[in-house]
């Protein structure tokens, strides 16, 4: 995917592990928090991207469980909602139609709400910043 090529320096700097499954349109990125060295695995499902935002879920690096509080970070400037979900218009799962907390957004307009976070590369860099943010990141959501 062309968007990823610009990310090489970021991936190297933060030692990300990448997996891109073109058949399933699935991007998996493992990141590590600079605050407490916790590992987080972000899964981006990209079917119908850019018409729709990515669907983002977290996988626990040890148990493999998906979408549980144990797989999510906490804090992160309120992006990491306790539901748990990444609460931003660039995550399909944040929309109420898909079980998320937001009924006030139109999914078709997702890229216009936060235009500078409307590419997968923007989102990945932001997620790394959030788990590195000593002012708001508080570790794994649940042990």
């Amino acid at each position: 995917m062309r968007e990823f090529t610009a990310l090489e320096p970021w991936a190297t700097r933060h030692e990300w592990s990448f997996l891109w499954d073109e058949d399933r349109l699935l991007l998996v990125v493992l990141m590590r928090s600079a605050v407490d060295l916790e590992r987080y695995i972000f899964e981006f499902t990209l079917d119908n991207y850019r018409e729709l935002p990515p669907s983002i879920e977290l996988v626990h690096p040890e148990t493999g469980e998906t979408g549980t509080r144990r797989s999510y970070p906490a804090g992160g400037r309120s992006y990491f909602h306790s539901k748990p979900v990444i609460c931003a218009p660039w995550n399909r799962k944040a929309y109420q139609t898909l079980g998320g907390p937001h009924s006030d957004w139109a999914m078709a307009d997702w890229a216009s709400y936060r235009p500078n976070h409307s590419h997968v590369a923007d989102m990945l860099v932001l997620l790394q910043e959030l788990i590195d943010d000593r002012a708001s990141y508080t570790g794994r959501m649940e042990r």
Binding site: A6, L7, P9, W10, G76, R77, S78, Y79, F80, H81, I86, C87, A88, P89, H102, R114, P115, N116, H117, H119, A121, D122, L124, V125, L126, E129, L130, D133
Partner: protein
């Protein structure tokens, strides 16, 4: 005396070399790079890696003693979840 400085700016959307007058303010550097990388107007952070510091928009590049060819990072401000 050379009055310009060459830097590389990396952003989530790409990486490019720029040449600026040394007296260019950080805010102007951010705006130039923002347009180059196709970001919308908004709040950005320009960061130096060594030392790790955020460059203040009102200061000129020369005040940071940035070395020729140094790499700076441009990222949109994090904002907050909603």
């Amino acid at each position: 005396m050379n009055d310009t400085i060459e830097v590389t700016i990396q952003s989530p959307r790409g990486s490019t070399h720029f040449i600026f007058e040394k007296t260019t303010k950080v805010a102007e550097v951010v705006e130039t790079a923002r347009q180059k990388f196709g970001f919308e107007p908004g709040a950005f952070v320009l960061r130096r890696q060594t030392p790790d510091e955020v460059l203040a928009p009102e200061r000129p590049l020369v005040s940071y003693h940035i070395e020729r060819g140094e790499t700076l990072l441009l990222v949109p401000e994090m904002g907050s979840g909603v």
